[in-house]
Amino acid sequence: MLKRFIRDLKKYLAYSGKAAKAQLKSEVASSYLNWIWWILEPVCFTFIYYLVFGVLFHLKEEYMIAFIVIGVSLWDFFNRMMKNSVRIIRANKSIISKVYLPKYILLVVRLGVNGFKMAITFVIAIAAMIILGVPVTWHVFMAVPVLIVFILFTFGISCLLLHFGVFVADLHNIVDIVLKMVFYVTGVFYSIGRRIPGPAGNWLINANPVAYSINAMRSVLLYGKMPNLLVLLIHFVISLGLCILGIYIIYKNENGYVKSI
């Protein structure tokens, strides 16, 4: 299976890149403010969270704006990937009913699209860090492994959602509800560690890879602290397992998808 995966990925990587670019391009082509929305959206959400939670509820954190932008950027990526992947087979029916392509390639395309948007929010985060005068430590390099594990995890879950989304027609309703719930316990606009101290808070962070990634990202970028490496390793193994399982399931069933939609 690994051999086939590598061969397919090689074969379709050029297509994925091209298709991701094409999707980004067609997104901007349909609105006047164009690409400015990719910047405005995360900035606006950051300010809303800042006003509501930071100012109204006094949930202040150090470097609050940068703190929220980092949360927003990772969360948006995860959120979009989940919502895209449940419907991705239906959305691409015109393609998959006419040619064969490994179905997870459609997810790779979305990884490209949403990853690009995440990269833009990262630039905003860096700008915020510079303006707020966040001291840079060598810990920032740890952002790379954290990000890799986070993307692997997202991709693994996406593969599973892609598969079940084909057969369970209203799965997207459930995914929306679950995502909303996960959003509030992920600490996008507050620090779980400080608001929910003790073992409960630790659990919330370490058992939820999204919360862990956001938390770890803030530690290394803003506070110059090492994330919990053991947990990172465990998440890496779990994420890799999810990816392998997801790709295995897709390979096994993908040729039946067209018949079901």
């Binding site: 094409a22 391009k25 067609s26 082509a29 040619v99 040729n255 039946g256 079901s260």
Partner: protein, 242 residues
């Protein structure tokens, strides 16, 4: 006997009529939903030599298109095998998901890659596709600005110029205005009659079949009725249908 290019053995394809499962539905209706299976193709086998042209006939809904899709690798057969002997294959179809906001040129690249061609191969063929499609300056405009005729002209040109070893054709296509119809029909004939290319055509037009095909496969309700030369099969089929 020449080299075999395509071998289909004991192909079975079934559809599940209960299309998919919905959590809402299963909550509202706790009793088990009856599964309604339809057997679209039942045990079809044939082999085709390289360079030969096979016509598939049968009434509507007898599983012809389903079988083509399965040979092209879009559908999984429930049992049986399709062996392409290493040949590349494509199902000629109109418009492999054009992206409306992109220009015709960009869509050529995307569709070509989807059909499994490399970026260089497409680059070499792009000019030919554009010339054949007669779109002129429209090729650098977004596809959403195209008329439906231009849309199908471009789609046809892409599939016709980017050739594969085995071509599966669901009805001989002719698109566009009268002039382009003639041109596309000629192009199809040229593609089909290339001696290196193995072709499978599904058609209802007896004229087309008589003109183009070497052998005929007749399927009825998913079952193989006859497989043989035109002279043997077509008269019996016509008799059956009348």
């Amino acid at each position: 006997m020449g080299e075999i290019a395509l071998e289909v053995k004991d192909l079975y394809i079934t559809y599940n009529c209960m299309k998919n499962y919905s959590i809402k539905k299963s909550l509202l209706r706790l009793k088990k939903v009856e599964k309604n299976r339809i057997e679209a193709v039942k045990g079809v086998s044939f082999s085709l030599e390289k360079g030969k042209i096979l016509g598939i006939v049968g009434k509507n809904g007898s599983g012809k298109s389903t079988m083509l899709k399965s040979i092209a690798g879009i559908f999984a057969p429930d049992s049986g095998t399709v062996d392409l002997h290493g040949n590349t294959i494509s199902l000629m179809s109109i418009g492999v998901g054009f992206s409306n906001e992109l220009t015709g040129r960009e869509n050529i690249a995307l569709s070509g890659m989807l059909l499994g061609f490399s970026a260089e191969q497409i680059k070499d063929k792009t000019e030919e596709i554009i010339r054949f499609s007669e779109l002129g300056k429209f090729i650098d405009m977004p596809v959403r600005t195209y008329s439906s005729g231009m849309h199908s002209k471009l789609a046809f040109s892409i599939t016709a110029i980017l050739e594969t070893d085995i071509m599966l054709i669901d009805e001989v296509l002719s698109v566009g205005d009268a002039k382009f119809k003639k041109k596309s029909l000629n192009k199809m004939k040229e593609l089909i009659s290339d001696t290196n290319r193995t072709v499978v055509i599904v058609s209802h037009s007896m004229d087309t079949l008589k003109k183009l095909c070497d052998t005929i496969l007749w399927i009825n309700d998913g079952e193989m009725m006859m497989y043989g030369s035109i002279e043997d099969v077509l008269p019996k089929y016509e008799e059956f249908m009348s």
